[in-house]
Symmetry: C2
Subunit: 309 residues, 2 copies
């Protein structure tokens, strides 16, 4: 068997085209979704990510706002908190994104928790996390339709949401499947495990202290690798016919290439390709979904605001 | 093999004795931990639980406060919220417990979220839940010692905490073990899964939509059954030598007995006894731990308050 690629690039493009179309069909003079981005310090990678996010907003007809802060003597938490407060109160801003990591002297949790949960399009605020980690089915609990993530009334983190969107778009029926998540980070592993659980998968979380990761993963119909170790998952880890979502983006030496390195996933793609049914390439798999889901969250925040009126 | 019983009754008694001793050794005139309990309506079972909790406080030298509200025309959320606010501000109150379930016309989430997280000894507030569902290991994240649950600076739900305490007191080394949690409720299944993960178990969560629960559970070194189905887990589900924590308390008909019913767990105890190494009986296993952990949370809340001064 040769696995089919899960083409994250074209799936992300499709999501973005859907949003573009929705926004283009608004009457003239309508309010538009707006994303505010905070960039602190001079990291080149952060600058690139922020530019990509702003361009993506423009491409699909959303507003974006940027505040940059050099990492100098004047930088402090109060300065950033004041800006967050402004954006929280600004009706033109529907999503607030704090580009991470922040410089060491700034406490990330303090800044992230200052963002209004309704505008927390990264889904990192404890109020949003607590709702995601909730399976309440008692009488008073809101009945959520997890098969339609845009109907969920709070923000779901972008990369985990993108993983599930990929599975949906290839027609993968998650319910009842054995899903194994490799890695237990707050940014990816844990939230993706919760999303799989909400979709009624049987979910196992493995990590650095797991004995015989290989044996556990080999039971999986769906593997989500989010551990950040280049090529950790080889052919022998995989059950024939499984679906592989590779969240890892690791740079490995590639002497003789122009850049001197190349990006690879947590999964040994060439080997996995021989045994899986579906697999995300790296790059071009999960990566492009993150921005698409960020746009969708911003649109969703805007939609909820306008519907409330 | 015949499994040894995990004697929750005597372990809970030991925990309570430790607290009693700590409190007895305080200088005369010291402040004491205080638990405030809200009881709404006329459910006999709730009245019994509340009485047990108050008696447990008295036995170990803590204060307890009780407010009861009949489920009548005068009952409304404002009335309950005003009482919660009073307790939030009362320095004699270190723990606030709202006995559930509340009458239908009261929104449970509204009441529970009004409790100050630092006094939320049931660990049900979203702020506490968000902290439990957090594995942050980045530089800025607080380093938590999950092997000493009393050192965790927020409230962990009582029954899940009791499950882990039982494992600790029989000397079960959780790290690296395969743990399977049956059930995904917010009250037990999910938080116990998180606690096992924090202790570096490899955790699988199974539920009503899982295919072949039996096959999954048979891989488990540690089984936590929290599903509420009498005798669902039989001998064929269990790996020889496993440890079984049975959270279920189900009443089944017992014609000819005085009460006409008896209480059984989610696990078929007699069969499991033949194959497991350790097992909690029902009753007398997990049950008694809930109140012991409630007392410990209240003591912990008090201790943190006094240490801050």
């Amino acid at each position: 068997m040769t696995a089919q690629d899960i083409d994250g690039k074209s799936i992300a493009a499709a999501v973005r085209a859907e949003l573009t179309e929705k926004l283009a069909s608004l009457p003239d003079g309508s309010s538009k979704p707006g994303l505010a981005v905070m960039l602190v310090g001079e990291r080149k990678d952060s600058q690139t990510y922020v530019r990509m996010k702003q361009k993506a907003c423009a491409d699909c007809g959303m507003d974006s706002f940027l505040c940059t802060y050099p990492d100098d003597d004047k930088l402090n938490e109060e300065l950033l908190l004041a800006q967050i407060k402004d954006w929280n109160e600004d009706p033109k801003v529907h999503g607030i994104l704090v580009q991470l990591p922040l410089p060491k002297k700034i406490d990330e949790a303090t800044i992230l928790e200052a963002v209004l949960p309704a505008k927390d399009v990264d889904g990192l605020h404890p109020a949003n996390a607590a709702k995601l980690f909730n399976t309440a089915t008692h009488a008073g609990a809101a009945k959520l339709d997890w098969k339609d993530m845009t109907s969920i009334p709070f923000h779901i983190p972008c990369t985990p949401q993108g993983c599930i969107e990929l599975l949906d778009r290839i027609g993968c029926d998650i319910e009842g499947k054995n899903a194994v998540v490799i890695g237990r980070s707050n940014l990816v592993g844990l939230p993706v495990a919760m999303l799989l659980l909400h979709r009624n998968a049987t979910v196992t979380i493995v990590h650095s202290r797991t004995k015989s990761v290989e044996d556990v993963v080999r039971n999986a119909d769906i593997v989500v690798a989010a551990v950040g170790r280049a090529h950790m998952v080889t052919k022998s880890y995989l059950k024939p016919g499984c679906t592989v979502i590779d969240v890892g983006i690791n740079s490995v030496d590639a002497p003789g290439t122009k850049r001197g390195y190349r990006l690879v996933g947590d999964v040994k793609y060439d080997e996995a390709k021989e045994i899986a049914e579906w697999i995300t390439p790296v790059p071009g798999g999960v990566g492009p979904m993150t921005i698409a889901m960020l746009l969708r969250n911003t649109w969703n925040g805007w939609r909820r605001t306008t519907e409330e009126k």
